[in-house]
Symmetry: C2
Subunit: 434 residues, 2 copies
């Protein structure tokens, strides 16, 4: 049998140094790679995309406020100066935990230590067929697709002569009342009320309906009930119709059935469920109900030597509560996994991980947000300023910080959206006119 072991940049370097493979260039994987800088290991970071994505601002690309390159940076550039790290653009198809090698379409890559940080993907609650009608928001491509659908909906409404079909084009359903759903709903309502108003001749974009559907009893369940209430009020002021306790029972590209009521809508966005990336299934370990990998407190996986799992893909309880799927969790876990790998090489036992919460934030359109930090609660403009500050600071290292702020200033002052482009298509969606 032919040896199809790949000669990775790391593996062609002088041998004898442990080879640390990191799958995924998100907050967790990238932090782990950076934390191994200067250590006596060879690091190979593998991602199926060439860029690290600042996911917290992805919804702003989907709603035409920011450009993709404002929130995405080539992983190569970030690790450029880290000589012991190399980057491969490739898609991993599985992990052989006993043979200690990563399986790619093109071959295999052996590892001494593997940090699995491939994150989560959308979950349609057993309805994969909903994916086409209701795209989710995880990647730049998702964001561009959603942006395209939102902009084309208004264009198609301007075209449409049949009133009921026109109404369907001007109805937007967002499924899921978490931070992403709230941010999308607020942004779309803003576009309809403030950005598009003067651009059309036959339709009045302000008539657009934006429905936020949450199956649970309140939106932003991760926050305290009173902040959920504040967020719902802020959304209503923006013109968003918030429905809680409304599970979606059916979905197609013509509309959705909520409970037993059918709503005609040509634009449906999915912000409901997520599940661990499919790669986890190849590990041969028992996954939790969300498809995540249960890990030890030292972030390792029982029975899989040298394997660490971090970020949204990891399932770890702290004080009896599962850790939330937040960037700060992934960052802290990435740093900790790197530390425990260095200790393992030195023959020391791994240290238990403890998450130090940095609070939670969600923004609701223009100049409104909710925040919970160190037990304190903010909402409204103060919380929004705080959100702005946190994200500008967070963008440090992103060359684009200055440009993002410039874009934001423009958007805020002029009620303008800079990136209102329909690309990757010249066709309007289906829906023959009368």
């Amino acid at each position: 049998m032919p040896d199809n072991t790949l000669h990775t940049p790391a593996s062609v370097q002088p041998k004898g140094r442990p080879h640390v493979v990191i799958l995924g260039g998100g907050f967790g994987g990238l932090t782990a790679a950076k934390s191994l800088r200067g250590e006596k290991v060879d690091v190979t970071l593998i991602d199926q995309r060439n860029h690290h994505l600042f996911q917290p601002l992805l919804y702003q690309v989907a709603t035409a406020a920011l450009n993709p390159s404002d929130i995405a940076v080539p992983i190569r550039r970030i690790l450029r100066k880290q000589r012991n790290a190399s980057v491969l653009l490739a898609e991993a198809v599985g992990v052989d935990t006993q043979g200690k090698q990563v399986l790619l379409a093109e071959g295999t890559i052996p590892y001494d230590f593997l940090i699995l940080a491939t994150g989560a993907t959308h979950s349609y609650f057993g309805h994969p067929e909903w994916a086409k009608a209701a795209p989710g928001l995880k990647t730049i491509d998702d964001a561009l697709e959603i942006r395209k659908r939102i902009l084309l909906a208004f264009e198609s409404a301007e075209w449409e002569t049949d009133p009921s079909r026109q109404k369907a084009w001007l109805t937007f359903i967002i499924v899921g009342g978490g931070p992403t759903g709230v941010e999308l709903a607020g942004a779309i309502a803003e576009i309809a009320r403030h950005v598009m108003t003067r651009d059309f001749r036959r339709i009045n974009p302000e008539k657009a309906r934006v429905l936020l559907m949450e199956a649970g009893s309140r939106i932003l369940p991760g926050f305290s009930p009173d902040l959920s209430q504040r967020a719902a009020e802020a959304l209503s002021r923006l013109g968003v119709e918030v429905f809680t306790g409304h599970p979606v029972t059916a979905l197609d590209d013509g509309g959705a059935t909520i409970g037993d009521e059918r709503v005609e809508a040509r634009t449906i966005l999915w912000a409901a469920g997520v599940e661990g990336s499919p790669l986890a299934r190849s590990l041969g370990v028992q996954l939790d109900s969300g498809g995540r990998v249960p890990i030890q407190t030292d972030l390792s996986v029982t029975g899989a030597p040298g394997l660490f799992v971090i970020g949204d893909l990891a399932s770890l309880k702290q004080d009896g509560k599962p850790l939330p799927a937040l960037a700060p969790v992934a960052v802290q876990e990435g740093r900790h996994a790197a530390k425990n790998i260095v200790r393992a090489i030195q023959g020391l036992p791994g240290l238990p991980f403890r998450y130090r919460s940095q609070g939670m934030l969600a923004t609701i359109g223009r100049a409104a947000a909710v925040a919970e930090v160190a037990g304190l609660k903010f909402y409204g403009f103060v919380a929004w300023l705080f959100w702005l500050l946190v994200h500008i600071v967070w963008l440090i290292g992103f060359r684009n910080r200055f440009l993002v702020v410039a874009e934001w200033a423009w958007t805020y002052l002029r009620y303008e959206r800079g990136a209102r482009l329909i690309t990757c298509t010249v066709q309007r969606p289906s829906g023959k006119r009368s």
Copy 2:
């Protein structure tokens, strides 16, 4: 037979005003629409894309220096305040010049006057099958596709273990020595020499070959011979191999045959021929060899009442020489067509068009360009500064001027490229590794 006349925003306005339909939102069509502002006509501008594109800078999107939204603006926004103008996102499939109506997939739009400004498309000299292997640069989507191919070529080379295949990934062929070909070749050489250098571990991007293939006797044939010479020298200094008198005889995604020599290259870009947009064939008039519509000096078309053709799609000689396919020509023709339509409504004869040349410019990578203005010739840094000035001034009206300048400053000072993103795909191109 059912009436499938579309109720355009204009046609539902109070009747009795002549309906001017403009096909194409480029420099020509947009200028024509703006020139009709305040006139007693209803204007409907139809484009199959939602944005006006600042084409002279499109190559900078293709080479990851600028974002799409830096050089593209929604047509709606530009015409927002012009009450007698409305915009439709639709693809025209033909023109019924006798029935005076535009044919769309969804129906027909009647006109009293039609300004045809759909421009030109790539011509592969009777080899349409080359299009897939060698994309051209006309739209944002083209630019993103080319950007993707350039970036993926370096990624794939880093992957590739077979030296000859690696060489093919690092070989870039640009077919066509006009301004676009020269600008692309210069920019790609720059990326390889200055931007990518420190990002890879196994390949040396500086080893990349960039070949500029011109079938004619010199590059930039529109310029004077000495400036063509200067441009060729500047390209050589950047590391571009310039071949003149080398027609491409065969082409596939593995390489190209120039004359009778085969060059293995995984990235081939087409900047050679253009021809009038296919729509011209529906007019039932004799087109010129380039598929362009021969027009009268008043920009109208013999035998087609109310029809005007402008920009790259129009074929008009001045002083015995055909007018060049340049933005200033399209802009001046757009203004003139609008004026002659107003005169026609007043029962006055159309005035003959005369192009006032504003000179020619082509840039060759970093801080080098050639320019011919009012008989004067510039080259090198002076010409480049002039190029910069002209384009910054030209971008007036584009909200993004400030951001573009910021991006340029960054690119220039840091040898950095802001938009190095591979989107609209997660797959690397074909080419199994050994």
